[in-house]
Symmetry: C2
């Protein structure tokens, strides 16, 4: 297996990502091609470097794909399309990577809109597939039904769940709840006999781990995930303040520190890889823009497992 890695455009820079690359090369029997402006300072038998002259910046719009033909991200995706690599991992601009996926790798037949699909950790210490995380700003009922199938395949082949339960993120549990989009999507998903559809979910079920696949339009998905983020940060702040308030609470904080950090580990997004651009012809993985070595390692591992489990082939079979 050969994995292609875009080293440019992440917050912490190429050297941080390279640490993950080396660690991964030591752990897995793969070849890795890295794309970037400077020759890596690290040498490894199974590591090759493709020199690229341009960088996709965070603020680059979708059309930059056409303009910056020698950007590391573009060359990495093109090499994957030309079968020189089996998958691409990038921590660069989400918007640019999405357009590279759509314009270069192309959506599968009968997929209208690719989506960002990822495993999110939950209170049951498992993961739920979440799709769409926000690749789209609006969706149709048919697109939501496509997300349901993509999520179902991912949960089956990556999370090894035989009959994954699928739920639709909505504003109430009864079938008639929600706007027209979600009422129609409910019917369309229910009609897919291959799915184990359990009906509507609410925002409060997101982290419960009660379903294996959470289907959502990109708008609601974005709002929900960023709300989780904001809430976690507000409560982290609160706990910190509570611990720092007196001498005794500081002692208390020291006593629970390790235990708390072990428990919090369950929600560490870095351990769960990045997001897959689901619904295109090639495995393209978006790692978090602020990925450190740990997060990027798991994004590479996710790409490796996607290739191993033939996730793209299974999605192609479903949508051809």
């Amino acid at each position: 297996m050969k994995l292609g890695i875009d080293l440019m455009g992440s917050d912490l820079g190429p050297s941080e990502l390279l640490k993950a690359v080396v660690r991964f090369l030591n752990d897995y029997p793969v070849d890795i091609v890295v794309y970037g402006s400077d020759e890596p300072m690290i040498h490894h038998q199974r590591l090759t470097w493709v020199k690229t002259s341009q960088v996709m910046e965070m603020e680059d719009g979708p059309m930059a794909i056409r303009r910056k033909k020698d950007a590391s991200m573009v060359v990495a995706v093109e090499d994957c399309i030309a079968n020189k690599t089996d998958a691409v991992i990038s921590a660069g601009s989400t918007g640019a990577l999405l357009s590279a996926a759509v314009l270069l790798s192309k959506p599968l037949p009968s997929i209208e809109r690719p989506a960002l699909l990822a495993n999110i950790p939950n209170a049951k210490q498992t993961v739920s597939v979440f799709c769409d995380m926000g690749a789209n700003s609006s969706n149709t009922p048919d697109q939501l039904a496509q997300f349901a199938i993509l999520g179902h395949i991912y949960a089956k082949s990556m999370n090894h769940i035989n009959q994954p339960t699928v739920g639709l993120l909505n504003i109430g549990s009864e079938q008639k709840k929600g706007d027209e989009l979600h009422q129609e999507a409910f019917k369309k998903i229910k009609a897919l006999s291959q799915l184990n559809f359990v009906g509507n979910l609410e925002g409060r079920d997101l982290l419960s781990g009660n379903v294996d696949v959470i289907v959502t339009d990109g708008f609601s998905g974005n709002i929900a995930l960023k709300t989780v983020e904001g809430t976690v940060s507000a409560f982290g702040q609160l706990i910190k303040e509570a611990i720092m308030s007196t001498f005794l609470t500081k002692i208390g904080g020291l006593l629970i520190k390790k235990s708390l950090s072990i428990k919090k580990d369950r929600y560490d997004y870095r351990k769960h890889g990045g997001a897959m651009l689901a619904g295109v012809h090639h495995p393209i993985i978006k790692a978090h823009g602020s990925s450190d070595q740990e997060a990027f390692y798991h994004a590479i591992r996710q790409a490796y497992q996607i290739v191993e489990a033939q996730v793209i082939e299974k999605m192609k079979r479903e949508f051809e």
Copy 2:
């Protein structure tokens, strides 16, 4: 001032709500009329009881308003419309109370859809006005602009903020972000010169306290608030587990317990009243269905303050 209180249909029953009524009567110089099936066991000079024979149940649809003419909720709203009381507070079915507001109190001229408006606590230890919390399952750009004005008036008169900042809940901060609804709403709100519009917000800003008024369609608002709820519950669980894991962590837990509970108090929804049905002709307050004495007391206080601050009159002036 005379406040009307629907005693029926809450999770904890009339006796729990009555405790709040008595406490409020002792604290404030008001008259209170309670509506319910059984005569209150408590007597107070400024407390009167209106006997009603029906109860609005949680599962009652909007049309139950017409069918259950002697439900405590319906009679309470009708008495307010007939100027027998100055405001109504109910912890009964949200759907039924919404239809009572729309069908009986009626939307203000040029208000298309009333909304659920409430103060939500934030990390800055202040509150932000949130509108719509989920009265609507879909909205138009004009309706979002109306919510912005309603929220602005509420923040000014209830939270005493002179030039409240107003933000639109969206999926990115730039103006062009979001679906058509939110792009159009952005323009419409921006065009309202009386507002201090600061642009788009994201889910992660919800609890930051960076804006005074958060405008959202009812669908996204519902998803966001229930996601906060689910995240808080998942993290509460996590902290509990961390504290319970060993003897030493239990000691640590004891040491920070009080401090943590003081800090957590800042997010205690019970202290912040209920939701106002904004955009109708009368002050109608929805208290949480599971309100205990403390929560219901603050919902009554909110109604009292709404009447005192002439919030409805100010809204009428704006929309007539």
